[in-house]
């Protein structure tokens, strides 16, 4: 492929050579044309002169011999010297025909006196056929002959192509008369002879010039090739290699000429070096960036282990749900939730000043210290005060954290809490309201934070929502804040932790829309459960279904999933009521990982998972669809017969 591409490429040298050759050819053609034109003119002049000279010489000779009448007397040898002279002149001037004649204008006739030729054969022919007294009628006498017979010495050229060949000639008057008519001399050249003459002249002019031009051209081309084409090709080859292999091997052009080419070469060498260095630097920089990104990714993964994006725990006596989303790879918000002992659960939310890795590290430390303190079983205010002391001792960057910590006694419903500079949480009772708390100083700033403990109490179905300012200070596209009113509205009628967090987080995220000013967003809700979540003892009567419905709704909240679970429970419970003959049934609800509902009844053994025949559509009015609905609704379904009881467990994934 490469080779073909390179073969197609044009060559500067070839173009220059072609231009040169064309220039030489054109100059040769021009000089040939000029040569032939000027040669033709010169030959014509010469011929004219020659005939005039011949006329002069012949006149002199004839007059020297006693005049024309004497010379051309019949039957004398007087004319012999004239013939010799004419023959001599014809040979000397390469004249094909040289003759003396008179013009009889009245009868349109040429009267020949004597005619000779430079060619021996023609000469013999003429002495026979154009001897003295030969009369030749001429149809169309040339104008020049008429003019000459009237004494004109500048008669124009005549061109004849007849039995005497393709000739051009002249007529010139002699200063004498024969038989009463002016004697004329005719001189004719063969055109072929003239052409040969012209060609000879042109060749003499063109050949040496061509040789000189070709020689000069060859030398120029050779120099051009050696001084320009070869170095340019070398530079081009180096450039090609260089572009094919950026940052690889260095390319150095070894041309040191002290001229433009040498300048290009040295500039290229410098550029090659510079780019090589730049690429090396850039590669190194990219690697550093990549490493940093990898480190950040690891940090993010570690942080998502420390503060998971979602948390949902549903126990018989309480439910906890949390949501956290960092604006960047790592953030400074955190939440925590853990059991201190069997009857005390703790939830914490915090916001660390600053962003990025620094904040994330400080956050990790803060979260760990607070958890360790709270796990000691001390009150939340004491835990935060002690954590503050620790943090003040190891805080070179002067960072601080606002924290809210609460501990719920699951038996009494007493909620103890302490606030270190954090947003007031929402108390979720009949109507949601903001808690009025004593706000202490944020942790990590002063040794004596003076955080105090306060308390309230939660009944079944009541809860608390902790959040960071990413919620209330969320900004939409028109730069208005989410604010407290929207938060209160989102929490209305929420009766479980899952429902509260789901509604608030989706409300805030919807509010953000595509707004780029996304802040860390963190919230955690804790609810105390009512009777639901515990074991329900049911009578196998259709009316008891209302209790199941209430329990499920209370623990799950009024969500689409809740309705699906209610439908499955409806089908299972209807079966128990209608067919099992059971006297009692139990139901337990649990929701830590997924929602798990177990029906236990003392009716006849019935395995809903056993394969059974499919009914025709028109027979479905007698039943047979319930189990199908349960199977399609539940994520998993297990059945066992245990201690004379049917135990059917349904699980539902939370998503």
């Amino acid at each position: 492929m490469k080779k073909a591409g390179r073969e197609k490429k044009g060559s500067v040298f070839r173009s220059i050579a072609a231009v040169f050759a064309a220039a030489i050819a054109v100059s040769c053609l021009i000089s040939a044309f000029v040569g032939s034109v000027s040669g033709a003119a010169e030959i014509r002049n010469n011929a004219h002169e020659h005939s005039a000279e011949a006329a002069q010489i012949i006149s002199d000779v004839i007059n020297g011999r006693g005049g024309i009448e004497t010379v051309f007397e019949s039957n004398t040898t007087n004319a012999v010297p004239i013939r010799k002279t004419l023959e001599f002149l014809a040979r000397g001037y390469d004249l094909e025909y040289l003759y003396l004649f008179t013009l009889d204008e009245e009868n349109d006739e040429y009267h020949y006196i004597i005619a000779v030729s430079c060619d021996d054969e023609q000469n013999a022919f003429l002495s026979e056929n154009r001897s003295l007294g030969t009369v030749v009628p001429v149809d169309d006498i040339p104008k020049c002959v008429v003019e000459a017979s009237h004494g004109s010495e500048d008669a124009d050229i005549i061109h004849d192509n007849n039995e005497f060949g393709n000739v051009i000639g002249w007529a010139y008057p002699l200063d004498m008369e024969y038989e009463g008519r002016r004697v004329l001399i005719g001189a004719e050249y063969l055109v072929s002879v003239i052409n040969e003459d012209i060609l000879e002249r042109v060749l003499i002019l063109v050949v040496p010039m061509t040789v000189v031009l070709i020689g000069a051209g060859a030398v120029m081309l050779f120099l051009t090739h050696r001084k320009i084409i070869v170095p340019v090709a070398e530079i081009s080859e180096h450039m090609r290699k260089f572009t094919e292999n950026y940052g690889g091997k260095k390319e150095k052009i070894d041309i040191t000429d002290n001229n433009e080419i040498g300048e290009i070469a040295s500039s290229f060498n410098k550029m090659s070096d510079d780019i090589h260095t730049l690429i090396a630097d850039n590669t190194a920089l990219n690697e550093v960036k990549l490493q940093a990104q990898i480190q950040l990714d690891i940090a993010r993964r570690i942080q998502s282990g420390i503060v998971p994006e979602n948390l949902s725990v549903i126990k018989p006596d309480h439910s906890v749900c949390a949501f956290a989303r960092a604006a960047r790879s790592v953030g400074g918000d955190f939440y925590d939730s853990f059991m201190i002992d069997d009857t005390h659960i703790c939830i914490v939310v915090g916001d660390v000043s600053g962003k990025g890795i620094t904040a994330a590290l400080f956050m990790t430390m803060t979260k760990t210290i607070i958890r360790e303190m709270l796990k000691l079983g001390i009150t939340p205010d004491e835990a935060l005060n002690r954590a503050n002391d620790e943090m003040c001792q190891s805080n070179p960057e002067g960072l601080f954290a606002t924290v809210f910590a609460a501990v719920l006694d699951l038996e009494t419903g007493v909620l103890q809490y302490a606030n270190a500079g954090h947003n007031p949480p929402l108390l979720l009772k009949e109507k949601p309201e903001f808690m009025k708390t004593e706000i202490g100083i944020a942790l990590g700033v002063f040794e004596d934070a003076g955080i105090v403990c306060e308390s309230t109490s939660l009944k079944g179905g009541e809860g608390i929502l902790l959040y960071t300012d990413g919620v209330t200070e969320a900004v939409d596209k028109s730069e208005s804040f989410y604010g407290t009113e929207r938060l209160l509205k989102a929490c209305e009628n929420c009766r479980t932790a899952d429902e509260t967090v789901a509604k608030v987080s989706s409300s805030v995220l919807d509010f953000y829309g595509g707004s780029p000013q996304f802040d860390d967003l963190t919230m955690i809700a804790l609810f105390r459960s009512g009777s639901a979540g515990k074991k329900l003892e049911l009578l196998p009567q259709p009316d008891e279904f209302d209790r199941i419905k209430e329990a499920v709704t209370e623990i799950i909240g009024n969500t689409p999933l809740c309705k699906k679970i209610v439908l499955a429970c409806d089908e299972v419970f209807t079966n128990i009521c209608s067919y099992s003959g059971a006297e009692k049934a139990f139901l337990t609800l649990d929701g830590s990982e997924c929602f798990t509902i177990t029906f236990t009844d003392d009716g006849i053994p019935f395995d809903p998972l056993a394969p059974r025949e499919e009914k025709d559509f028109d027979d479905l009015d007698t039943g047979g669809m319930g189990i199908g609905i349960v199977k399609q609704t539940a994520s998993s379904l297990t059945y066992k017969r245990e201690n004379g009881m049917n135990v059917l467990t349904l699980s539902f994934n939370k998503q």
Partner: protein, 95 residues
């Protein structure tokens, strides 16, 4: 559950509102039984139906057998889901 009937010659519309389950399904059956004998085409308007269980579906099969023409209209996505689970969507005229 609330049932609203609207009779117009040979066709009738029954609108069902609320929960259609084991305890309320017989009410729908009764409402259908009370229709005049010449009613041949029945439309069930489920726009305000919040919930349906298999007992409700059974009652619909019974209506399907009883009526010459039965159509279901305005069912919500949740209700349609239950129809799909049981293959009802393939057998009933659901609009």
């Amino acid at each position: 559950m609330q049932i609203t009937k609207n009779i117009n010659g040979e066709s009738a519309v029954i609108a069902v509102e609320g929960w259609l389950d084991t305890r309320t399904a017989p009410e729908l059956g009764q409402a259908a039984d009370e229709l005049p004998a010449d009613v041949k085409a029945l439309e069930l308007d489920l726009s305000k139906l919040e919930y349906i269980s298999s007992a409700g579906l059974r009652q619909i099969v019974a209506l399907h057998k009883k009526m010459e023409k039965l159509s279901i209209t305005n069912a919500s996505a949740e209700i349609l889901d239950v129809f799909r689970m049981t293959g009802f969507d393939k057998r009933l005229d659901i609009r």
